[in-house]
């Protein structure tokens, strides 16, 4: 029961923050909203027995990626209060598409009778060890490819952002 209430609270936090992201005119406020969503979703991960993933979400997403985004915002804004508003046509068209998307996906999700495991088994939580083992055995190739990808991205970003000689 407590877990159900916690789910609704964290889901509410993430949804509310996501709405704030969409509605905010100021881009830094949008970033703070994204921080709220990330935090709420990380709490949902903790609730879903994905402790390691939740902490990774906080450390990589909130502590790294989002700081990078905020950094980018600060480097590219002429004044703190400049906001680029969409035209009315854009906003209305986008809202219609989003509403249709929401209705469509929610309808799909509720239509399909999802097979669920026995709730008694659900409580067994995954250890960090099992995830680490899987990363270095079953998922070794993607893991290594990901590291190469990160290297490529690092070089590419450094090349793109270099100062002109």
């Amino acid at each position: 029961m407590i877990e159900d209430a916690a789910f609704y609270i964290f889901a509410g936090v993430s949804l509310f923050s996501a709405i704030a992201v969409v509605l905010s005119k100021n881009i830094v406020r949008a970033a703070v909203g994204l921080l709220g969503t990330l935090g709420g979703v990380a709490c949902l991960y903790f609730l879903a027995d994905a402790n390691l993933l939740g902490v990774i979400q906080l450390i990589v997403y909130a502590g790294g990626t989002l700081i990078l985004i905020v950094f980018g915002i600060m480097l590219t804004s002429q004044s703190p209060w400049v906001g680029f508003l969409p035209t009315k046509v854009q906003a209305i068209a986008a809202s219609i598409v989003a509403v249709i998307l929401t209705i469509g996906i929610v309808r799909l999700v509720t239509l399909v009778p999802w097979a669920q495991r026995n709730p008694d088994e659900l409580s067994q939580s995954l250890t960090v060890k099992s995830i680490g083992d899987a990363l270095l055995t079953t998922y070794l190739v993607p893991f290594e490819v990901a590291s190469v990808l990160l290297l490529v991205v690092m070089i590419g970003a450094a090349y793109l952002a270099r100062t002109e000689k």
Partner: protein, 454 residues
């Protein structure tokens, strides 16, 4: 009646009377509800909750006295007296400071982004406080009234299996307070401070992570094989460093002295402390990210900063300096009495206090880095050094080599770094160098143009 009136009017006697009455009331309450209190204290859930409240109170007091200590140490280094007016030796100064900060006018300038302006100091404060949940303060123990075979209590708020990563994550969230505060202030200097803080904290997280990884792997190697996964719990890291017969001490710092030094440097930078306090550089940026803040919101930033210092010191103590263990003291490490628990809290508290003293002495004796020096220190010295030490530790664990090899590697890395710093002394950054070259070329061209007609 006259006697009572005289006592009430007398300043000291009336105080004594009040204290006596209050003491009697509290004692009666304790005696009346002794069983209930015993029960609440013996239950791990309630004990953890009470402990978290006690830690909150303790940390707040510690932070207030840290500020006094900072002022005393700065005074000592600058050959002054420091605060000595309020109470004996100035010991009531934190109280006076707190009252002053609470009563000061809380100014919110008209040009700021109000919501973020209010949010930022609270974020800094909260983020600095939640890290204490995983610190092992006193190990396992039983109250004197508990049965000898009862499950012992753990003097720790939460024991999670990823405490080390959790602390890193919480530490990396600390930058939001500074960045948002600087941004919301809508002030050039605050903005520069925020920019610097963001770049600095992202950079120093990498050496910090490398060093923490090294310590975690070492701890996993020192622990018995069936408990090796405990290395990600802070109490597991502490348990690995308990003194035992085979070796007089097992602190990780003896195996990785340079890694411990790197962690100290990275923790200084993460806490935005001098010599890495570029985010609030007074000379250049007035006050940096907190230029526009005043009263309690301003104080929140500083409470957050000092709480962050305590968290990072506790982190260092648990990973490298043996937590609550002392060399040779097997009683302290293994006894399960409440007295031993209190002694353990005292030991870990003393170690944390030593680190905080070190932070302060460093702050008041070293000059601030320039920003390019700061970045070069992180990327060109700390990261390579951390990488070499980490690689060496991984090889040691993989091939099962004796752990003392890491000492050789550590010292070798230090020597190599010293040689590299001697041979490759570059006082200015690459960008500045290219600018200088450009400038020189322009000057030469101008000179040629001026003298071409002659």
């Amino acid at each position: 009646m006259a006697l009572i009136r005289a006592i009430i009017k007398h300043p000291i006697l009336s105080g004594l009377l009040a204290v006596t009455i209050g003491g009697i009331v509290v004692l009666t309450l304790i005696v009346a509800f002794l069983d209930q209190i015993k029960w609440v204290l013996s239950d791990q859930f309630w004990f953890s909750n009470i402990l978290s409240l006690a830690i909150f109170g303790g940390i707040m007091t510690a932070v207030a006295y840290c500020i006094l200590l900072e002022r005393k140490i700065s005074a000592w280094i600058q050959d002054r007296y420091g605060p000595n007016r309020v109470g004996p030796l100035g010991l009531l100064q934190p109280l006076a400071d707190g009252v002053k900060l609470l009563l000061k006018e809380d100014i919110t300038p008209g040009h700021v982004d109000k919501a973020l302006f209010v949010l930022a100091p609270f974020m800094m404060f909260v983020v600095a406080l939640i890290g204490f949940a995983v610190v092992p303060w006193g190990g396992t123990f039983r109250w004197p009234w508990m049965d000898a075979d009862a499950t012992p209590l753990v003097a720790q708020v939460a024991s999670i299996d990823i405490a080390v990563i959790y602390l890193l994550a919480v530490g990396s969230m600390g930058v939001y307070g500074v960045v948002l505060g600087g941004w919301a202030s809508n002030n050039k200097y605050a903005f520069y401070g925020a920019m610097r803080a963001a770049a600095q904290m992202i950079s120093y997280e990498i050496p910090l992570g490398l060093v923490v990884l090294t310590a975690v792997i070492t701890v996993g190697y020192l622990l018995p094989v069936d408990h090796a996964m405990d290395c990600l719990r802070l109490e597991g890291a502490v348990a690995a460093q308990a003194p035992h017969a085979a070796s007089w001490t097992m602190w990780v710092v003896f195996y990785h002295p340079v890694a411990a030094l790197l962690m100290f440097i990275a923790a200084l930078a993460e806490a935005n402390r001098a010599p890495f306090d570029l985010a609030e550089a007074e000379q250049e940026l007035i006050g940096g990210f907190h230029t526009e803040y005043s009263a309690m919101k301003w104080a929140m930033f500083f409470l957050g900063e000092y709480a962050h210092m305590i968290t990072s010191s506790a982190f260092m103590v648990c990973l490298f300096w043996g937590g609550y263990h002392l060399p040779y003291c097997t009683w302290l490490s293994t006894d399960e009495s409440a007295l031993a628990m209190l002694c353990r809290i005292g030991v870990i508290g003393a170690k944390i206090a030593i680190f905080i003293g070190a932070y302060m002495v460093v702050r008041w004796s070293l000059p601030r880095f320039r920003f390019d020096q700061l970045m070069r220190l992180a990327w060109k010295s700390l990261v390579p050094m951390g990488l070499v030490i980490l690689a060496a530790q991984v090889l040691i664990v993989y091939y099962g080599w004796p752990q003392w090899i890491s000492i050789v590697v550590n010292l070798g890395v230090l020597v190599l770094a010293a040689i590299a710093s001697l041979t490759n002394a570059m006082p200015i950054s690459g960008r500045q160098q290219s600018l200088l070259i450009k400038e020189k070329a322009a000057r030469e061209k101008e000179y040629e143009l001026q003298h071409a007609g002659v």
